[in-house]
């Protein structure tokens, strides 16, 4: 647990970057600091590992005031990932990853073995190990950055806009990778971004900062979308809050009818029982588009999307292998949507 207690950062010229921040960052979860430029999110992050020292208040790392820990010692125990990877251009990838183990005095063999293990873990080809950073793409460099932060197995990871400099496709895959890693490792992660969608996707808790270093709201993503604390948070969250919040509601509660028909339409299946399309009653017309939803995995948002894709207006439920599991009627979808709206804090 990381605790901010009345933390203020004031610069010599009177600028207040962070103003009386009180916040708890829970252990083993991802907490995202999000907000526009100049809101103090990065400053708050950097005060944790004392890249910046607070002017007032204190920050506790598992009940220990970080100001009482010698900075290099503190920092070697906290993983750090930044936007432009921050890799050492003059060191091979494997040695970049082994940086903190080297600093901690591990022997070279052990440090390198550990580095190789981590390269594998973040999904990098081991052939990369002997290359230099410039020989890697931006996305690969970012993976190395994550591997390096994890090298000495620190309980806490600080990530400062780590994925903002890569293209959207790579960013999405890096985000998915982080969530997969986090499911295995359960680190205490503080993640800074200005991208609210990234915050909502990654955060177990999202802390929204406003300009001037004030905390506007701290909540889980679903609550944030359903109940923004004020106009600023609402504006920052942007459009389609209702639909985006459905991402956090499981489709599992949807009622499914096992018959492959709804009034006016029937589902065409192949010999493997996979849906091919909606066939309208009567002759002549061909198969019409359809959308599917996996009730075990998908969200209500996916179910709504599947309904909107089909002229029949009904999502087709499938199992994990994509085989037909039933049809969700509009009434069933309607009920689920109503339930989701009534209980905004479920998720």
């Amino acid at each position: 647990m990381i605790t901010f207690e009345g933390v203020t950062k004031r610069y010599g010229d009177g600028t207040v970057a962070v103003d009386n921040l009180n916040l708890q960052v829970p252990t083993g979860a991802i907490t995202v600091f999000v907000g526009p430029s100049g809101c103090g999110k990065t400053t708050s992050l950097r005060m944790i590992n004392r890249m910046i020292d607070a002017t007032e208040g204190r920050i506790l790392l598992d009940d220990q005031d970080v100001r009482k820990i010698d900075p290099p010692t503190l920092r070697r125990g906290i993983g750090y990932v930044i936007q432009q990877s921050g890799l050492f251009p003059h060191r091979k990838i494997v040695d970049n990853v082994a940086t903190v183990p080297y600093l901690l005095g591990w022997d070279k063999k052990k440090a390198r073995d550990r580095a190789m293990e981590l390269l594998e873990r973040v999904g990098l080809d081991l052939k990369m190990a002997d290359r230099y950073p410039f020989q890697l793409s931006g996305g690969q460099q970012q993976r190395v950055g994550v591997a390096r932060a994890l090298a000495a197995d620190p309980p806490v990871l600080l990530m400062d806009e780590p994925f903002s400099a890569v293209d959207p496709v790579v960013r999405t895959s890096l985000q998915d990778e982080l969530l997969r890693l986090q499911a295995e490792l359960q680190k205490t992660i503080v993640f800074v971004t200005h991208d609210i969608d990234e915050a909502i996707k990654l955060g177990d808790t999202v802390a929204v900062f406003r300009v001037g270093g004030h905390l506007a709201q701290v909540a889980d993503p679903s609550t944030l979308l359903a109940e923004p604390a004020d106009d600023f948070v609402e504006g920052f969250l942007g459009r389609d809050r209702g639909i985006r919040r459905l991402s956090f509601v499981s489709a599992g509660d949807l009622a499914v009818r096992s018959e492959a028909v709804v009034p006016g339409w029937s589902v065409a299946l192949d010999e493997d029982n996979r849906p091919l399309g909606w066939r309208p009653d009567g002759d002549g017309a061909g198969l019409q588009p359809f959308g599917t939803v996996d009730l075990k995995k998908d969200s209500l948002r996916a179910a709504l999307d599947a309904a909107l894709l089909a002229p029949s207006g009904c999502p087709i439920a499938v199992d994990g292998d994509g085989r037909f599991a039933g049809v969700v009627t509009r009434e069933a979808l309607d009920e689920a949507l109503t339930r989701a709206t009534r209980g905004p804090s479920d998720g």
Partner: protein, 221 residues
């Protein structure tokens, strides 16, 4: 000299080879010692200039003033202190010329360390000394080596001027040839000075390739 006088008289070279060799060795020593001394002095001065920014401008201005002084004038001023036809009389001013190139090179080299790299070094728990030795200086090497190439080549060429005060390595051949209106020593001198400069520069380029295989990408990494 008659019409048939050739540009190069090979027999003269053959007869005078031992003394040419002596001049060559003298030239190499007087050219390279200043660069080495310059590098040794430029490192701490460059580091100090980076650490205390206020120091940088005065240091560089002073060095530029020194660089603008005609070398012959400096040699002559030094003669009462270090003696006529002494190596030191040539080496001391050339060391200052090297400094004028190498101090900015060290400062620029340290300045070429990308911000995100220094930041991440700090964030991972490097102390100041370790960061300097393991991150900042290695990354500065390509820029420092580029400065070293300029300093070395200009030093090799400047030594010749010392011939005017009686200690100029291969420069002696120019004076000798000019005084006697005899071209062979002049040609030999030019060829050797140029060869020396090309060789030294080539060795530095080779050193750069070997020391910094990562440097092709310093702008993108």
């Amino acid at each position: 000299m008659g019409d048939a006088e050739p540009l190069v008289r090979w027999d003269w070279i053959g007869r005078n080879w031992p003394s040419i060799q002596t001049l060559l060795v003298d030239h190499v020593i007087m050219a390279l010692v200043p660069v080495l001394l310059g590098l040794i002095i430029a490192l701490p001065l460059g580091l100090a200039s980076v650490r205390w920014r206020l120091l940088y401008q005065p240091t560089v201005s002073l060095m530029n003033v020194v660089y603008s002084l005609p070398s012959l004038a400096v040699f002559i001023v030094l003669i009462p202190l270090t003696g006529l036809a002494e190596r030191a009389t040539v080496i001391i001013p050339l060391t200052f010329y090297s400094l004028a190139v190498l101090i900015p090179a060290v400062v620029d080299g340290l300045g070429s360390v990308p911000d995100h790299v220094s930041q991440s070094a700090v964030a991972m728990g490097f102390g100041p000394m370790r960061r300097l030795l393991q991150v900042d200086l290695p990354i500065a090497v390509p820029v420092v080596l580029a400065g070293l190439r300029v300093a070395t080549v200009s030093s090799i060429s400047l030594v010749s001027v010392g011939a005017l005060i009686g200690r100029g390595g291969l420069g002696y051949l120019f004076i000798d040839g000019w005084q006697r209106q005899f071209y062979t020593p002049i040609v030999v001198g030019i060829v050797l000075v140029v060869a020396l400069a090309v060789l030294a520069d080539g060795l530095l380029v080779l050193a750069q390739r070997l020391l910094t295989p990562w440097a092709r990408a310093r702008r993108t990494a």
